[in-house]
Subunit: 403 residues, 2 copies
């Protein structure tokens, strides 16, 4: 039998009632597949543990943090295994150190390097369903390590990789990936199939279904992912390689951000290397510069430089710019009232005129574009935050995403 | 430097504030000793986890139970280690599997068999304070095992044994062991020194400070135990070998139970083997018979047999007695309104007349004795439960325990 990996997020196992529901879902797969389950901590547990650690210290030890929070998955996995046993299904919980799942890298931000398959394969052959704790691993010195918040998705994908699973099903509290945020647009539609690359853009641009690095892991290892709801029995969204997707639309989805800020330096010297001299100290301080535009100067002497950063980095950015004396400018303008709206789709590679259609649609609605950035499968524009809903709505219509 | 083991119970680490206090206590030892800490789960945690498991099943898997509840110590130990680090003290949490602490026996009721000292000794030599999770171990197949409720005391004593610690300090929420339950008698006094044997009798007879098997572990391994409060800085009670104790009183303490029940079979045949035929099926059903008395029959044909059991076993006992047809009797009488009051003291070995003084003191207060049982260092009497406070008071006075 083929192996399938089922991963359940925190809300999916958020109560004993939910654990009972999830046990039924697991059973429904067990006749057709060898099932491996990964579980997150029950929703709320991880935050509760983190809050306790913060009462002790704002700089709580990373080593102890990993030991502390990984207790959450220990609880959810043993409860879930206990529920399956209660239902007459052979199952047991597996902590990372019992398998083991080996990681490398720093505490709190480790990555899974190797999974020893022996015990789990033996257990599968005995007819058991292993319930593996997500989010955790151990390093070579038997320290408990975690792989970052939301890391249970990564755990599931790495398990799917090492066990050559046919598919990895990510059970969550949404029905799948939508053409745009359903909270911002009622007519948003569930996407049936999406490529890794599109999903990566959707994730990094503000869609919260899966974290970017989990999708990247799946892409690199060619793991088919299905994102679906554990609360309702409906098909979800398949994230797969591009060539598996038929009937591409030009645009697959629209995303928007609400944590960007715009910085404009007015009257900087228009000479080579000036942008670099500004961005170097920002990069050294781990501030990520996203969109950049430099106006063409009329006199060849001075110009304006505009770029976007995350809003939380605004104070730090201001300090750095004012501190570095070789950054010469006339005026510094900040604007937190901006959002980045992006259209994403592999279809635009082969379809000319997409940029034009996007700009025209926005212009018709009197939405001013402040900054533009593009990639092969994405066009992003920075606009006033108050215009976001209007922009998403008109773009959704323009590219017929509600059909 | 000598090694000292400090064990903190659930209430001692029951909140972040308590963890901060405990960190100060640990620091106060760290200049004089190599400190090894054992911690229970934060009070409430274990019960909360057990309640979740009971919502899943009344027969929740023992394997998953052990994995589930041991998460509690993982949380408390990482928080405590984090607090010590925050205070500038080198410390880290150690789960049983990281050391490892090896157990044998069944899930939920395992016993510590072996503790590998290498890593902990290395860590102590580096100047660190290890915070070891109590209550947990692993078996030879890397399953998580627990050593029974209250088992963190046993963990501490076994750590003290393997590391040849000078002393094991059990920090709890009471100031030590008292001559009798302070809730029942205001004038109860804290005992400064008590022998293992006396403490064993106190523990098994209803004193709740430490569980009997932990004291037995300490006795077998000659570990000096100090029981004291983590809430107030006062000397506690030293539990040690008999010859370390000077100025023995005749009686060290008085204990009482409130979970006994009396069973009387009226008119059983007075012939050899009759008592055995009754107690055999009870023992086969794990019902523990404590005190026994058989009346002398006047006619040599029939007699009455009285014994005590735990109240919770009453229904089961009734069923068994009625089921076994070879148990012939005229009438079955049950009485839950009884308590066992015991005086305990190694002093009584060398002091004649203790029994007489006890009975006389009770008689003066018109307290009727229903059943008597004695050991080398203990005299127990079964009396009406309503007489318990009066009995404790007069015995406390008779043997001058409030002096």
């Amino acid at each position: 039998m083929e192996i399938i990996v089922l991963k359940f997020g925190g809300t999916s196992v958020g109560s004993i009632q939910r654990i009972k529901e999830v046990a039924k879902i697991i059973k429904s797969y067990s006749r057709k597949y060898n099932v491996i389950v990964l579980s997150s901590a029950m929703s709320g547990t991880t935050n509760k543990l983190i809050n306790m650690s913060l009462k002790i210290s704002k700089n709580f030890s990373d080593h102890e943090y990993d030991t502390l929070v990984s207790a959450g998955e220990q609880i959810s996995c043993s409860l879930l295994a206990g529920q399956l046993l209660e239902n007459g299904i052979k199952a047991r919980s597996w902590m990372a150190w019992q398998i083991p799942i080996l990681t490398e890298g720093k505490h709190k931000y480790s990555r899974i390097k190797y999974i020893n398959k022996n015990k789990i394969l033996k257990y599968l052959r005995s007819g058991g369903i292993p319930i593996i704790a997500g989010f955790q691993g151990i390093d070579k010195n038997l320290n408990i390590t975690t792989i970052g918040r939301g890391g249970s998705d990564s755990s599931a994908i790495m398990v799917a990789k090492f066990f050559k699973a046919r598919r990895c099903v990510i059970y969550t509290d949404v029905e799948g990936v939508y053409t745009t945020d359903p909270n911002k647009l009622n007519s948003a539609k569930k996407i049936q199939n999406i490529s890794y690359e599109e999903m990566l853009e959707m994730a990094s641009l503000g869609s919260k279904v899966m974290q970017a690095h989990s999708i990247q892991d799946a892409r690199l290892n060619r793991i088919n992912i299905e994102v679906k709801s554990s609360f309702i029995n409906k098909s979800g969204t398949l994230i797969t390689k591009r060539k598996n997707i038929i009937n591409n639309k030009i645009i697959t989805g629209i995303s928007s951000t609400d944590n960007d800020a715009k910085v404009t330096l007015v009257g900087v010297k228009d000479r080579p290397g000036i942008a670099a001299s500004i961005f170097k100290p920002l990069s050294q301080n781990s501030i990520n510069v996203d969109m950049v535009v430099q106006n063409i100067s009329s006199d060849g002497k001075e110009t304006d430089l505009t770029f976007t950063i995350k809003s939380i980095d605004l104070t730090k950015t201001k300090k750095i710019i004012n501190k570095y004396k070789n950054i010469i400018f006339k005026k510094l303008i900040f604007d937190k009232n901006v959002s980045k709206v992006s259209i994403i789709g592999v279809g635009m590679i082969t379809t000319p005129g997409v940029t034009f259609r996007m700009f025209q649609a926005l212009a018709r609605k009197n939405i001013n574009i402040q900054v533009i950035s593009t990639s092969e499968i994405k066009i992003s524009v920075l606009i006033k935050r108050t215009n976001v809903t209007k922009a998403i709505k008109c773009l959704h219509q323009e590219f017929k995403l509600n059909k």
